[in-house]
């Protein structure tokens, strides 16, 4: 008869659906994260209403102006209103950020789980492919992509699809290796549960936590990566506003008008904060 110690509120093994929902509602972190991201999405949707001026309207005789009533956050190097561009940029960045990591997240986690669970041949093959992708110089790949599919946002999705899944694969593989050894997976396998069901019901819920936490960071990495990719022709094309390019354009003025790069930077940080709260909240909820 096993001693039911009071801390283990749950029976070991998979987490029931009802329980996830109850824990999700109670986790303060998750709630805070959702409110932050919710506010940002709201600001993005209301951009046309809130922003003082059209985001691309230039005023070449009032460039780099300080904070004022007309321009609450000042103007950039082309005299465009920084606040308006900040709000419109939220639309592009959240969309690009989330879409760019979807494929890497799913594909990487799948490969990582399979490699970690089945081991031997599958594992070696997968990990060597991962090594090739990691070792490949990202810039050469990006320039090649621009040539093949031309500039624009499509390039970002493909660049990240090709290069970013490796992180998920390696992280998930590491945790799968450990979970595979645990007692309840052995017990479930002994009870005759098929590999597929076992992977989905028992292995994945335990390994997904690390992947989710990384995914939330990854979205921020995508938004910031738009800067370097933009120089090489990939990603958001001017004049569309996006935080990454605003930070990049602000680089030259960091010592004179430091707010130009810092404000979009802080916008990325706040988004990152919201996402990381959600990431950790989800990880806690899903943990058995």
């Amino acid at each position: 008869m096993s001693v039911v110690s009071l801390e283990a509120e749950l029976e070991p093994g998979p987490v029931g659906r009802g329980l996830i929902w109850r824990r999700a509602r109670r986790s303060r972190g998750l709630l805070a994260g959702c409110t932050i991201i919710g506010l940002i999405v709201l600001a993005a949707l209301l951009a046309p209403v809130i922003s003082p001026a059209p985001p691309n309207q230039q005023d070449l005789y009032h460039i780099l102006a300080g904070f004022s009533a007309k321009h609450p956050l000042g103007t950039d190097e082309l005299g465009r209103d920084v606040l308006s561009r900040l709000l419109y940029a939220a639309r592009t960045d959240l969309r690009v950020g989330v879409l760019a990591i979807l494929f890497p997240f799913c594909f990487g986690t799948l490969i990582g789980t399979l490699a970690g669970y089945y081991g031997r041949f599958v594992d070696t093959l997968a990990m060597r492919v991962v090594d090739v992708v990691i070792a490949f110089p990202f810039y050469v790949l990006v320039i090649g992509l621009v040539f093949v599919i031309g500039p624009g946002i499509r390039g970002i999705y493909i660049a990240f699809a090709v290069a970013d899944w490796v992180v998920y694969a390696r992280t998930v593989r590491a945790t799968t290796l450990v979970v595979r050894e645990s007692d309840y997976v052995a017990a479930a396998r002994a009870a005759g549960i098929g590999d597929l069901r076992l992977l989905a019901r028992h292995v994945l819920p335990n390994t997904i936590a690390q992947a989710i936490v990384y995914a939330m960071n990854d979205i921020v990495l995508v938004i910031v990566a738009v800067v370097t990719l933009g120089y090489l022709g990939l990603g958001v094309q001017p004049p569309t506003a996006d935080w990454g390019s605003m930070i990049g354009e602000g680089q030259d003025f960091l010592t004179t008008n430091w707010t130009l790069a810092t404000i979009p930077g802080l916008a990325v940080v706040v988004t990152g904060l919201g996402l990381s709260l959600i990431g950790d909240g989800l990880a806690n909820v899903l943990r058995p």
């Binding site: 008869m1 096993s2 001693v3 110690s5 009071l6 801390e7 509120e9 109850r22 109670r26």
Partner: protein
């Protein structure tokens, strides 16, 4: 024996700080946080254990006995908290939480757990884990701490200490792991050893060896042992004093022989009847009806009354006190208003 000699020298220093039993618990209550609300899981527990003697704490799973032990050695999980009561070592009260609590218990109290695999650090060698306390807490040099560890491993009966010391927990058997857990506990030279069902996960033969080891250590090192279990046979073999716990409260306390031969509480009687008595071929085991109540919805009055064959009207209103039946010595008490009826049977 090296251990005895050192103990004598240490004993001298402790004796000076005041007499009284090695471990005394007065009115200990512990609450647990469950979905934003607190429930009392351990309610006003009091008992004492003298040096060299073994005290049994018996009860079904979920009765709060394991939580009690964790409260005594202040390793409660974040969701649990000591509400009231005192823990005294040699008559001196020790704080419940924080750095002071740990310092006060160092060299006084140690604990071993049920699942020996998960109780040991999987990535550190056994020798290192045993030598850690002597090295870190008693400032012994690396060499002398390692020797102390080998000595302890020999003390707990390991055939080849030096090779075991270099192995890792997942590489050795359950029984051997439990001996190592005991060695680790002894490495802090405690005077009180708390055991949270250390033998339950072991098969019978190994179980007996561990119990003999504990009994031998108790006498040789003058240890006060608190042994938590749901297995009355183990308690009878090891402990001279016993307390029975039900839903967070002590329902019967006394000498083991008295409590287990002439139980003064219906719950203890029920526990005894539930055991398959090998030599009594005729009597079939009669399990206690119903199941342990959840601490969130405890019955009123005497919490055992819904399952009690002696239950009467008042049982659901009066909260029984833990005391001896009329004109009997207070050495054997029961928390049941019909305790006198139990005497007659």
């Amino acid at each position: 024996m090296i251990a005895r000699a050192r103990r004598a020298q240490r004993l001298g220093s402790r004796a000076a700080t005041g007499g009284g039993p090695a471990l005394a618990v007065a009115g200990l209550s512990v609450s647990v946080l469950r979905s934003e609300r607190r429930y009392v899981a351990v309610d006003e527990i009091s008992f004492a254990v003298g040096a060299g003697s073994a005290f049994g704490l018996v009860g079904e799973s979920g009765s709060g006995k394991s939580l009690t032990l964790r409260a005594l050695i202040s390793v409660l999980p974040p969701s649990a908290r000591v509400e009231s009561g005192e823990v005294l070592l040699h008559g001196r009260a020790v704080p419940h939480t924080g750095r002071a609590a740990r310092r006060a218990r160092r060299g006084e109290m140690a604990m071993i757990f049920q699942d020996s695999l998960s109780a040991l650090d999987p990535v550190v060698s056994i020798g290192a884990q045993v030598a850690e306390a002597p090295r870190r807490l008693m400032r012994l040099s690396r060499r002398r701490a390692w020797d102390r560890a080998l000595e302890l491993l020999r003390l707990v009966g390991l055939p080849d200490p030096s090779s075991t010391a270099h192995a890792y927990p997942h590489q050795i058997s359950g029984g051997m792991r439990q001996r190592i857990a005991i060695a680790i506990a002894l490495s802090t030279e405690p005077s009180v050893l708390l055991c949270d069902e250390p033998t339950t996960a072991l098969d019978v033969t190994v179980q007996a060896q561990i119990l003999d080891l504990l009994d031998d250590l108790r006498r040789r090192l003058d240890l006060a042992i608190v042994f938590v279990s749901h297995d009355l046979a183990v308690i009878r073999q090891l402990c001279d004093q016993t307390a029975v716990m039900y839903a967070g409260r002590l329902v019967e306390t006394g000498a083991t022989t008295a409590a287990l031969e002439q139980p003064l509480h219906p719950y203890t009687r029920g526990l005894l009847d539930a055991i398959v008595d090998l030599d009594d071929a005729v009597g079939a085991p009669a399990p206690i009806p119903g199941s342990l109540p959840d601490i969130e919805r405890l019955p009123s009055g005497c919490t055992f009354h819904p399952r009690c064959f002696l239950a009467t009207e008042e049982c659901s209103t009066i909260v029984p006190e833990l005391r001896a039946p009329t004109n009997l010595p207070e050495t054997h008490r029961s928390a049941c208003i019909h305790r006198d009826k139990m005497v007659r049977q």
